[in-house]
C-alpha cells in the first residue's frame, strides 16, 4: 500500500493519528494541522464508546444532531452515530481550541458535514466496522474514507460500477493477490474525493479514476489521462488494524493558516470595531458625569442590567458586552 508522503503532488499530509476523547495525541493533531494544514484522526469504536457521555451531556454535545440521534432505532446505529459525532466535535474543538459543546455541526444539501460559523476548517467523517475516521483541513476541502483492506470487492462484479475502463485494465494486469486490496484502495480514494467535492456517489465512480499504487496520485479521466493538477492531494494509508484509509485534500490557494484558534479567527474589522466601541465606553465611564453628554439613556450606563438602549440608530446607544463575556458573545466567522 502507499508509503506515506510518496506523492509529490498537492499539499502534504501526515499519517493518521489515533486518539481518545482525551490524551496527548491531540497535541500531535494540532501539530499536524499547523505543519501540513490538514490532519487525519481515527479511533476504534470500542475504545471511544465508553468515553461518550449520555443523557443531558450527550444532548449538549450533539446539539441539533440530538433529534436525528433519537430517530435512529437500532442501538448499534445510534451508538455509532453518537460516537462519531462526538469524535468529530472533539477533533474540531481541539484544533480550534474551543468548547466542543459550543460547536454546531451542520449539513449541506448532499449531507456533507461542516462546522457552522467556522469556515476556516473543513471536516470529513467516515466509519466502517469499528473504525471512526475524521479529516480536518485549513487548506480548503477534505474528504476521507476507510474500509477493511480484506473486504471482498474484486470478483464480486463491483468493478463494473466502480472502475473506469483504464482502472479495469490496470487491475487485471496485477497478480491475483494484489487485485482485491488495489480495488479497496481505489474505492476509498473515490469515496474520499467524492466526499470532498460534496457529491457522494451521485458522481458516478466510473467517470473518474486513479492510477496504480506507488506513483503520485491524481484524479484521472476514464481513459487514464490526468483530470486534476497540483491543487489536489491524495494519500492512502494502511493501518496496523487492517484498515485502508484514504484522504483527498483540495488546496484552495488561500495560503497556509498557522493559527486556527477560534478566538483568533474572528473577522479583524469586526473585532476592531467592537474593541473601539468598548474603549469609547470605558472612556465615557471614566469621564466626569457632565462630559458624557446630555441625552445618554440611563440604561446604557450599566452594561450588566441587561437593558439595551433605545434605538435611534446611534452606535453608542447599543450596550456592548462586558469585558468578561466579550469573547463568548462574539460570533466567530
Amino acid at each position: 500500500m502507499t508509503v506515506p508522503g510518496n506523492s509529490t503532488l498537492g499539499p502534504p499530509l501526515g499519517e493518521p493519528v489515533e486518539v481518545g476523547v482525551r490524551g496527548v495525541a491531540w497535541e500531535r493533531v494540532r501539530a499536524d494541522l499547523t505543519e501540513y494544514g490538514s490532519a487525519l484522526i481515527y479511533a476504534r469504536l470500542a475504545d471511544l464508546q465508553p468515553e461518550v457521555p449520555d443523557g443531558a451531556e450527550l444532548r449538549g454535545l450533539l446539539g441539533r444532531d440530538w433529534s436525528r440521534y433519537l430517530d435512529l432505532a437500532h442501538p448499534d446505529v445510534r451508538n455509532r452515530y453518537a460516537t462519531s459525532r462526538v469524535l468529530l466535535k472533539y477533533a474540531a474543538g481541539a484544533v480550534l481550541r474551543g468548547d466542543p459543546d459550543a460547536l454546531e455541526l451542520a449539513y449541506g444539501p448532499t449531507g456533507r458535514p461542516y462546522l457552522r460559523g467556522c469556515d476556516q476548517i473543513d471536516i470529513s467523517l467516515s466509519h466502517t466496522d469499528d473504525l471512526l475516521l475524521v479529516g480536518l483541513t485549513t487548506r480548503g476541502l477534505i474528504g476521507v474514507d476507510a474500509e477493511r483492506i480484506d473486504r471482498q470487492m474484486y470478483g464480486s462484479g463491483l468493478g463494473r460500477h466502480v472502475c473506469t475502463p483504464y482502472e479495469l485494465v490496470t487491475l487485471a494486469s496485477l497478480t491475483e493477490e494484489e487485485r482485491n486490496p488495489s480495488l479497496v484502495r481505489l474505492w476509498t480514494l473515490k469515496e474520499a474525493y467524492s466526499k470532498a467535492i460534496g457529491q457522494g456517489m451521485q458522481f458516478r465512480f466510473t467517470e473518474f479514476g486513479f492510477g496504480p499504487d506507488g506513483k503520485p496520485v491524481r484524479v484521472q479521466r476514464p481513459d487514464g489521462t490526468a483530470g486534476t493538477g497540483d491543487e489536489w492531494a491524495f494519500r492512502t494509508f494502511l493501518l496496523d488494524s487492517g484498515y485502508c484509509v484514504s484522504a483527498a485534500v483540495y488546496d484552495a490557494g488561500f495560503g497556509h493558516v498557522q493559527d486556527t484558534d477560534i478566538t483568533t479567527m474572528l473577522d479583524e474589522d469586526c473585532v476592531e470595531t467592537i474593541a473601539s466601541a468598548l474603549e469609547e465606553e470605558d472612556a465615557r465611564a471614566d469621564a466626569p458625569r457632565g462630559a458624557r453628554g446630555p441625552d445618554r439613556p440611563k440604561d446604557v450606563e450599566d452594561p450588566d442590567n441587561g437593558a439595551q438602549g433605545s434605538s435611534t440608530g446611534r452606535a453608542d446607544e447599543v450596550s456592548p458586552p462586558s469585558r468578561t463575556d466579550r469573547a463568548s458573545r462574539t460570533e466567530p466567522h
Binding site: 462484479g157 474505492w187 469515496e191
Partner: protein, 89 residues
C-alpha cells in the same frame, strides 16, 4: 433469466450473497437504521440484481431509495438491459 421478482427471492439474495441477516421485518426499515449497511453493500446488491434479472438498474435511483422495499420496487420496474453484463471484476 429468472430473477428475484418476489420479495422473498430478493431477501434471499441479500442473505445468501451479502451475508446480511435481513428478513421481511426489515423491508420498510430505513437503510440508515440497518446496522452495517453501506455503499459497498448497495453497489454489490445492484450488481447481483442486474446479473439475476438481466435488467439494468439505475444506481442513481437506488441511491435515493430509503428502504429495501423501495429498492425491490425499483428492480421490479427496471427495463431489460440492452447489453449483457461483462466479466465479473
Amino acid at each position: 433469466m429468472s430473477g428475484p421478482d418476489s420479495l422473498d427471492d430478493f431477501l434471499g439474495v441479500i442473505r445468501a450473497e451479502l451475508g446480511l441477516d435481513l428478513g421481511v421485518r426489515d423491508v420498510d426499515t430505513e437503510l440508515v437504521n440497518i446496522p452495517d449497511w453501506d455503499s459497498v453493500y448497495l453497489l454489490r446488491l445492484v450488481t447481483l440484481l442486474e446479473e439475476r434479472t438481466g435488467r439494468r438498474v439505475s444506481v442513481r435511483a437506488v441511491l435515493e431509495a430509503r428502504s429495501l422495499g423501495q429498492i425491490h420496487a425499483l428492480v421490479s420496474e427496471a427495463p431489460p438491459a440492452e447489453t449483457p453484463a461483462g466479466p465479473r471484476i
